[in-house]
Symmetry: C2
Amino acid sequence: MEATEEKLSRRNFLKNASTLATGLAVGGVVGGGLFAGGCASNGATKTAMAAKWPWPYQKLDPEVVRKKGYEGYYEGACMYGAVRALVSELSAKVGDPYSSLPIDMFRYGEGGMAGWGSLCGALNGSCAVLNLASDKKTYPKLVTELLNFYTTNSFPSKKHDAYAKFPGQVQSVSGSTLCHVSIANWCKVSGKKALSPERADRCAKLAGDVAAHAAGLLNKMADGTFAAAYTIPPAVQTCRGCHAKGGTLGNIRGKENCEQCHDLNYKAHHPSF
Amino acid sequence: MEATEEKLSRRNFLKNASTLATGLAVGGVVGGGLFAGGCASNGATKTAMAAKWPWPYQKLDPEVVRKKGYEGYYEGACMYGAVRALVSELSAKVGDPYSSLPIDMFRYGEGGMAGWGSLCGALNGSCAVLNLASDKKTYPKLVTELLNFYTTNSFPSKKHDAYAKFPGQVQSVSGSTLCHVSIANWCKVSGKKALSPERADRCAKLAGDVAAHAAGLLNKMADGTFAAAYTIPPAVQTCRGCHAKGGTLGNIRGKENCEQCHDLNYKAHHPSF
């Protein structure tokens, strides 16, 4: 087993290091081996272990997270904004290990991967934190609920209007997890351009809204009241009947709205329609 | 400024803690304040700071990363597999801070976000590491090069054939960053089902292939030989001429292949065609 696969609670790490330091204070021997009690060594470097997953969660105020997501967008765009909102609050409440997480790692999701228009960064970042703070059985359900929320709700919310650069903006529903679709739909109803300051402010609000909803889901998990509610919409289920697992074709994987991309007069291609 | 925004090199953290422990050994006072020299406290909890971004990079062997990506897929799927391959190798070479990164955080991207078929997890995870190990000016270029590689190359590579469960598989080009499209295209040419063990093995190889290419990009960066080569394809540039920034409509953001989704007899909707 490799060093990185061994998990050690950081609290135990601190405790062990503290205990070791006590011993060292008595013995008077201090040096490069200080962390041997809590860390593995690969011969060349000392290594601190990642805290055991899932990381401990404490309930957050979604409205604080919402405002921080908005503010964080203007520091490092959508994915960074969402992660920063959740992790800075968890750092304040839980402390370590959240305070050791490199939030700057999550800049890359901006504009759907450095501007490519793929997956929405607010969603990408929020799901990373959902994963970090919940276990193997729970995180897929939380992720699914957040994706369903994102694709079916109207954004941006009005809850940023007290401090936003552009309060009272028109809302749109993306119907998709993709930045490209989410932005295009909003530009259509707002009449604003995709690289306008108004659209940027809309996405700043969205970073906060998605992170706030993620906090709400985690709060329910903490309370023991979270229940998975998502069901695949009938229109998607119709397509999946043949194309997904168990269907005669079984040639696709996914739960997104099929007709947003496959609207190419599909009836002509489907003998059953 | 909040605690989480202050950055402290973990090497300095260890050095400071070690120095403090030396002092403690002399003074004989040891307790909860052990890490005060290297950490901030929010009053309730002791917090370890994230190491300063970007994290130090040392060149990796892409073939080692490729095999680890394949193996990691079978532990935690595509996003986890790609991150584990890169981060476990960086942990072995650099040690801390990579060894403190919670790799389990990156399970959520599996199957394009818990099976939704959105962004490919291998791409999502590899880009997170590209971001972590490069600076603000460089990471968008590395991400763009990796996305271009992913969307234009044939996968899976033949380089896993010595150990793969299903060697010699047929290859396909996705033309998209999306899991759904990538899998559907491969199922079409292979005749295999989307939830088949053969398709899973194809994606295991792909996790390794994408992580290996990311390592190659970072190696070039380390050598000072990385040069951004991506240019927007002519067909996409034609659409962007009106729809992207600077165009008369300016109503979209993105660089993906337009015609994969917008193939709805678009000439009828475009007076200029």
